[in-house]
Symmetry: C2
Subunit: 337 residues, 2 copies
C-alpha cells in the first residue's frame, strides 16, 4: 500500500446562530487501518446537507449531536482502497455515512456498492440517495398527491425540492415552486416544468404572491424551509390538505425558539394533516424508492442538478452556502477523481 | 292542535371578541307549520357547543356562518308534536340540528329517533351524539393510542374531553388531563380515573407542571383548547407522536390572528403527526361509534357528566359559560319536560 496521508474536518465549536468557518478545524489525521470485516475507503465526493446543522447543536434530536473535536460524519461516495471483507474489492465504488475526511474505514454492513454503469456516482448522494428517498417518500407517502391537485414546494431549487417538483408533475399535479432567485425559478420553470414560481426574496408582498400563484388553494405543501414562507402557504390550504414537514432551514440557525402563525386553527377548519418525517423512517422501503427513481431517471422523466465545489478544504464553505441559498440542486464537494 | 306560541333566539350582531348577551335576541316567532314529509318538534333540550362560536363570525369555515337575525341552529332533543311523515309519530323523541327555538319543523331525513329506554334522552346530545363521536373518532382514528402510551387531553372536563379521557383509559393508556379547576380535576381523578391532572389556571409554571405530569413525554395529545397550553404539550412530544386538533377554544374569541410556538420543528424531529378533524368527516361511520359508546355506557365503562341550565331564555348565558369554563361535562339547556 502506498504511503498516504489522511486529513479530516472536525467540529471545533458549536455554532451560535449562523455557522462560520471558525466552527470547523481542518487537520492532518492518522491513516485509519481496516480490521477484519472492514474496508478502507478513499473519499471521492462529500455531501453537505442542511440537516447537519441540527447535529451541530448539543440538543436531543432524531440523531445524536456531532461530538466536539471529532470528524463530522455525512454522506460520502468513495473508492475501496483496501478490503478485509469478502463483499468488497479494491476499486469498488461505495457510499455510506462516513466522514469529512480523505480516508475512512467502515464495516462492510455500513456501506453499499454504487454501480457507475447505471448513473454517475454522484447520484448516490442525490437523486438515487438520501435526498431522492426524502422527496419520494415524503411526497408520495405523506403528501399523497392526486392528479389535478396543487402542490406547493418550498426550497424548490434544492436537492430535495427539485425532485419533489418533478415527482408531483409526474403524478399530474399543478406545481408551485418557491425559491430564492430568478435563476433558480427559470430552471424550475424551463427545465423542470413547474406551473408557477414565487421568488421569496424579491416578492414585495410574499403572501399576495403566494395567493396569486395558488388561486384555487393548496392541497399539498412540501415544506423544506418553515418560517414566514410556510405561514403564507398555510393560510391557503384547502379541505383535506396535507403538509409534509421535511425541513425547516429558515429556523436552523435561530438561537431562540421561534414564534409564528399558529397552524392549528387552519388544520382544524380544513381537516388537514401536518406531518414531520425523517427519511430513515422509510429505510425498509429504500429499494422501492431507489428503483422507481432510477427508472424515472433512465426514462428521462426526472432530471437532477448538482452544484459541485472542488477541493476537500472547501467543504465547510460549501456547507455554509446551503444557508445563503447558493446551491441549485444537490450541493457536493469533489475531493478526488 | 292546542294553541302554542313559538319563541326563538337569533344572532343580533356578530361578536367582536368574547360574545355578550347583546349579540343575541330572544323574541316571539311564528309557529312553524309542517308540510308533507315534515315534522313539528317541541324542543326539550338544547345543546350549546364551543364550535358554534366560529359560526358567529362572517368567515369561511367548514360550515357556513350563522345568518344575522336568523334563528341559531344547533343540536336539539325534542318531542314530535305533529308528523306529516310516515316514520314519525307524535310523542316520538328525536334529535337533529334544529334551532334555538321552542318549536322547529324538520324534514324527516334530517332527524333521527332517540330511544328513551336505552339511555336518558340528553345523551343524544352528549356521549351518544356529536361530542361522543368526536371523542371516539378523534382519539381512535387519528390519535391511535396504544396501551402503555401517555395520552394528554386538554379541555379534559368538557363534553368531549371527559369521553376522550375514558376511552384512552379503556385502551390502557396513561391519561394526563388538563382542566381549569380543582373541582374538575377531582372529578377527572376520582370518577374517571385519569392518572395525572394539571390545573392550567392555578399552575404557577404551566410548562413545568406539564413536564412533571408527563415524565416520559407525550405520545398522543388530544387538543380541545390550543394556545399556550398546547405549546407546553408540544415541546414534550415523543417520536411518532400524534396530535389531534379537535378544538381551539382559547383562540375562538381572538380578534387578531394569533402567534405562538412554531410546531413544525417539533413535528419534524419527532416524525410526528398533527391533524385537524371535524366530526362530520366520520358521518358514514357514526353507527359504529354510537354502537361502541352505547356498549361502554351500558357496561358502566364510560360515565358522562352534564351541566344542565334550566330555561330557554338562559341559552345565551349557557353558551357564554363555555368560554369561562363553567361546565363540567356536556352543557345543555332544558327547555321543557
Amino acid at each position: 500500500m502506498e504511503n498516504k496521508m489522511n486529513r479530516k474536518i472536525s467540529l471545533a465549536s458549536r455554532p451560535a446562530g449562523v455557522p462560520t468557518l471558525d466552527n470547523f478545524e481542518i487537520a492532518d489525521a492518522e491513516m485509519p487501518q481496516p480490521q477484519a470485516g472492514e474496508i478502507l475507503i478513499r473519499t471521492l465526493y462529500l455531501s453537505v446537507d442542511p440537516y447537519m446543522r441540527g447535529r451541530m447543536n448539543d440538543r436531543k434530536s432524531y440523531i445524536p449531536p456531532f461530538a466536539l473535536n471529532e470528524v463530522i460524519t455525512g454522506g460520502v461516495v468513495g473508492e475501496v482502497v483496501e478490503s478485509r471483507a469478502d463483499a468488497f474489492q479494491p476499486g469498488d465504488i461505495v457510499t455510506g455515512q462516513l466522514g469529512w475526511q480523505l480516508y475512512s474505514v467502515a464495516q462492510a454492513a455500513a456501506i453499499r456498492k454504487v454501480d457507475p454503469a447505471l448513473a454517475p456516482v454522484t447520484t448516490a448522494l442525490g437523486v438515487l440517495g438520501m435526498p431522492g428517498l426524502t422527496a419520494y417518500f415524503g411526497l408520495l407517502d405523506i403528501g399523497q398527491p392526486v392528479a389535478g391537485e396543487t402542490v406547493v414546494v418550498s426550497g424548490a431549487a434544492g436537492a430535495v425540492g427539485t425532485l419533489v417538483c418533478q415527482i408531483a408533475r409526474i403524478k399530474g399535479c399543478r406545481v408551485v415552486a418557491i425559491a430564492g432567485s430568478d435563476e433558480k425559478n427559470r430552471y424550475l420553470t424551463n427545465e423542470l416544468g413547474v406551473d408557477a414560481v414565487v421568488n421569496y426574496k424579491t416578492s414585495t408582498d410574499l403572501n399576495a404572491a403566494l395567493r396569486e400563484a395558488c388561486p384555487g388553494g393548496v392541497d399539498v405543501y412540501f415544506d423544506n424551509v418553515g418560517g414566514d414562507i410556510s405561514d403564507g402557504v398555510t393560510v391557503l390550504i384547502r379541505h383535506g390538505a396535507r403538509i409534509v414537514i421535511c425541513g425547516q432551514i429558515s429556523l436552523y440557525n435561530l438561537e431562540e425558539q421561534d414564534v409564528g402563525l399558529r397552524v392549528q386553527p387552519y388544520l382544524l377548519v380544513n381537516s388537514a394533516l401536518m406531518r414531520g418525517f425523517i427519511v430513515t423512517d422509510y429505510a425498509a422501503r429504500s429499494a422501492e424508492g431507489i428503483g422507481q427513481l432510477g427508472q424515472w431517471l433512465a426514462e428521462g422523466r426526472v432530471k437532477y442538478a448538482e452544484n459541485i465545489v472542488e477541493g476537500f478544504e472547501n467543504t465547510p464553505q460549501a456547507f455554509l452556502g446551503l444557508f445563503s441559498g447558493e446551491n441549485l440542486g444537490k450541493q457536493l464537494v469533489k475531493v478526488a477523481d
